[in-house]
Symmetry: C2
Subunit: 216 residues, 2 copies
């Protein structure tokens, strides 16, 4: 079994969605003199590599606390690195993967944008699916959609229409994924299990791809 | 594939280790009027169902940020419900599982103590392994040890000797597990993937057992 870490490290000063609260890691105790280390964590639910649940945009939508099987399943990586210049992941591009989409639980867009993590370029110009592509994906029995960008909507979006199309379909969204180039296209288990936060609209996660195991 | 949730819910007022900081879930935004829900999380690394990494007690010990394969593997549940009165899980009791211990990555003590979660009884009188039992377990190629109690040392311990024996052996410790009665003895994948916190001594986790998949 091989576990591929698809997660950015949570640390003070890390990149955050424009205008959002940052991360604070407060020392509660240290080995000298307390005999042990302990940190107090302070950060928003949408920190770093994280999920959005329905509740993020939909009143009464699903939260982080129930049905953990929604957060683990068969992954399919779609290479979208050539879609960068167009800033759009189109339905016509996705259709070539139709037979694979029928076998997948999670679709993961590999846009290559994680190479800009830690720079201002990370927050603009990244490719996202358009509404036609998003509606096309809601026709499959998926658990969720992941991406290595900060959002499924362009950074200047006020309506978050792509988020809402996916969340209304019951999908979980995973943003700010890392290391996607280390994944095969298929044949791995993807896990984005969130903290079990009461009424949680989302959660930072330790996203991983697990090879050498099977799920159905 | 079936996913069994082994995690207590994170919420304000939840049980916490005596003297430790509590949980605060602060609303940063609400659908009315902001158009979306978002929470700010405030809690210690050892909140609810959580892991201890080496770094919790050992300077320079492993932290949460590296080698995620340490946090997922084949589980073995050991029924310790009859060890409650003695308050001790003894080597002589564990030895009957020797052949199974050789095949496991994670040993999970099912003491039944999670039935006291939310009451003062949860924090005293729970069974823990003694030093002889702990040293016996370090002789196996394990990734970690889990329990449905608040600690691997008695609540009045100042030295945390059992923690230190396990952590010095490179094990991850998982405390405050829930719903263990829903697990089979073997034949499941156990996951306790932590948040990827820089220099993290531990992390709350979404602990699960996954049935219908294989790992080796």
């Amino acid at each position: 079994m091989q576990v591929i870490d698809l997660t950015h490290t949570i640390e003070e000063g890390m990149p955050a969605y424009p205008g959002s609260e940052g991360v604070r890691l407060e020392s509660l105790a240290g080995i000298d003199p307390d005999g042990y280390n302990e940190l107090m964590l302070h950060f928003p639910t949408h920190t770093g590599t994280h999920i959005d649940c329905g509740r993020h945009f939909l009143a009464g939508g699903p939260d982080t606390s129930r049905n953990p099987e929604r957060f683990i399943g068969r992954g399919l990586v779609i290479d979208c690195q050539r879609q960068g210049k167009a800033r759009i992941i189109a339905k016509t591009y996705l259709q070539q993967f139709e037979s694979r989409l029928k076998q997948a639980d999670f679709v993961i867009f590999h846009t290559g944008w994680s190479r800009f993590w830690g720079t201002t370029d990370y927050f603009s110009g990244f490719p996202v699916p358009d509404q036609e592509a998003a509606r096309y994906l809601t026709g499959f029995q998926l658990k969720g959609i992941g991406t290595d960008t900060v959002s499924f909507d362009h950074i200047d979006s006020h309506e978050f229409q792509i988020h809402k199309i996916f969340l209304a379909a019951g999908f979980t969204l995973i943003e700010n994924l890392a290391n996607l180039k280390k994944l095969p296209m298929e044949g791995f288990l993807f896990s984005c299990l969130p903290l079990k936060i009461k009424d949680g609209d989302g959660s930072p996660v330790r996203a991983v791809g697990v090879l050498g195991t099977t799920g159905n």
